[in-house]
């Protein structure tokens, strides 16, 4: 290696070895010779969880330990994996300070540390009822504990609530309701369970067409919908003042015997300790089409860590990763960035009974009916066996195609328009 090569060697530091960080690192490793760019991925632990699988754990349809693999094993050779906590980023001086006292200088920084759960930010949520009659399925431990609680649950009021947006996979709590309905039916106790879905939104979902469709499914399954409910306090069962209940800031109450709560979300703690990097909630403000951070040109972010108006979902991180890999290379080559991320999101929604529906949308187009990716594809916004099989088939694709950074046929960053049915009148933006 010539000295000139060493001088021109660039270091790309990716904070976070989850979906976005891993697939981006792998996509960046290929085009660079090892002496042209060093790629370092930092994460505080070595457990890469296939998060979409957590939904199935409470119903005994998946096991948390089978959803987890080592982070480093998902990275191509030639990528440095550094397991360390992150103390803060000195954006001005292009330097990451690690929890172990070491520092990492970078030419390009990518924030991919996702969103964290903040259950302690809601009054009473982590009180005496936590993991006893109040649960979340958003962590492997929580999902396993909830499985045991559901096993014991033979009747009563089950409330499923979102404290506030944004949350990861905004459709997951709805899917949980549909699967719970199915689960209790199979056990023959459905008529003894009152199921209630509690949301801060003004409908089952943010976007009009999908909200109508999903609201209709809730009604058809006898699941009560409570809207515009901003949870202020969670009171556990058996505490003074009676049974368990969710209490909103405007003093409405939803009583429960068992509560499944999706806690508040925020960005990683170190983002808040890094001057200029994050917003009030710890998410990184970026250009929603190039994914370049607003704080400095050599900083980028993807996945759940950003503030863009798209779902916090693996499909978004995937589509962003393809765009961002190109933009990191363009930036290092001194060229203009491509403003090509369109907000494309794609989610299978389990509806129970071995069926699922599929939604596909972007910044400008709400989820519509029709087929994906073209007229002969999977049915959109309609429960079907095919979509359920698609959701199950996705798990091996995740480990073997998506994370390694391979292109998956029929799934591309730009949202397909073919096959979608437009509403007769403009629906307006949700």
């Amino acid at each position: 290696v010539l000295e000139a090569d060493i001088d021109s060697m660039k270091r790309i530091v990716i904070l976070g070895g989850g979906t976005g960080g891993t697939l981006l690192a792998n996509r960046l490793r290929r085009p660079y010779r090892t002496e042209a760019a060093e790629i370092v991925v930092v994460d505080r632990d070595d457990a890469h969880v296939y998060q979409p699988g957590l939904l199935f754990v409470p119903f005994g349809l998946a096991e948390a330990r089978r959803l987890t693999r080592p982070r480093w094993r998902q990275l191509h050779s030639g990528i440095t994996y550094c397991q360390a906590a992150i103390d803060h980023v000195d954006v001005e001086n292009d330097r990451v300070y690690l929890g172990n006292g070491n520092t990492l200088d970078y030419d390009v920084l990518v924030v991919a540390t996702g969103a964290q759960l903040l259950p302690e930010d809601t009054d009473g949520l982590t009180g005496p009822g936590w993991q006893r009659d109040v649960f979340t399925f958003y962590t492997p431990e929580g999902a396993e504990a909830l499985r045991r609680a559901l096993d014991r649950f033979t009747g009563g009021r089950l409330a499923v609530g979102i404290v506030d947006m944004p949350i990861k996979c905004p459709v997951a709590p709805l899917e949980f309701c549909f699967l719970a309905d199915d689960y209790f039916r199979r056990r023959g106790v459905r008529d003894r369970v009152d199921l209630t879905y509690v949301t801060p939104l003004d409908g089952a979902f943010t976007k009009p067409v999908a909200s109508r469709q999903l609201g209709g499914l809730l009604a058809a399954k006898g699941i009560e919908l409570v809207t515009e409910f901003s949870t202020g306090t969670v009171q556990a069962a058996g505490e003074p003042g009676g049974g368990g209940r969710l209490v909103s800031f405007d003093d409405r109450e939803v009583p429960f015997d068992l509560a499944v709560v999706v806690p508040l979300h925020g960005g990683a703690d170190y983002v808040g300790r890094s001057p200029g990097l994050g917003d009030e909630l710890g998410f990184v403000p970026v250009d929603s089409h190039t994914l370049q951070a607003k704080v400095k040109p050599n900083v980028f972010a993807l996945g759940d860590a950003t503030d863009i108006p798209a779902s916090k979902a693996g499909s978004v991180a995937h589509f962003e990763g393809e765009v961002l890999a190109g933009n990191v290379r363009r930036f290092l080559a001194g060229g203009p960035l491509a403003a090509s991320f369109d907000g494309h999101t794609n989610c299978f929604i389990e509806t129970g009974g071995g069926r699922a529906l599929l939604i596909d949308f972007n910044y400008d187009t709400e989820p519509l009916t029709g087929h994906y990716p073209g007229r002969l594809g999977l049915p959109l916004l309609r429960p079907s066996r095919l979509n359920h099989l698609g959701k199950l088939a996705f798990q091996p694709l995740y480990w073997h195609a998506l994370l390694p950074g391979r292109d998956i046929p029929g799934i591309s960053p730009a949202m397909p328009v073919r096959g979608k049915r437009r509403p007769a009148a403009p629906a307006g933006h949700g």
Binding site: M165, P166, P170, T206, S230, G232, F249, E280, L281, G430
Partner: protein
């Protein structure tokens, strides 16, 4: 596009009654919009939130959500709901003459 008349001026509003052009808003309109939202009188605490909403909209192009308001406006979420019982972010945005805060997706 529907219109509404506040403080003697015609302004354009959307289906939900939010002003479509924040520049058409004047402080005189605020108390009249507030009354139509069931708030009889705007106190200095209301005004603190309304002014904060407008400043945030001007800086960021969207009004803050309740959670961000609770963290940054100097008024707690609990008090925000006492001031604007029908939903602080939505009601304060309407009174402040800015679009409905972009909900998260």
């Amino acid at each position: 596009m529907p219109t509404a008349t506040y403080a003697g001026h015609d302004v354009s509003v959307n289906d939900e009654g939010f002003l479509t052009d924040p520049d058409q808003w004047t402080e005189e309109m605020a108390s009249q919009i507030a009354r139509s939202e069931g708030i009889a009188e705007l106190t200095p605490r209301h005004w603190q939130v309304v002014r904060f909403m407008r400043a945030q909209y001007q800086a960021k192009g969207t009004g803050p959500t309740v959670r961000v308001l609770g963290k940054t406006s100097g008024v707690t979420v609990k008090e925000l709901y006492q001031l604007f019982p029908k939903g602080p972010a939505k009601t304060a945005a309407k009174i402040a003459g800015i679009p409905k805060p972009r909900g998260c997706i």
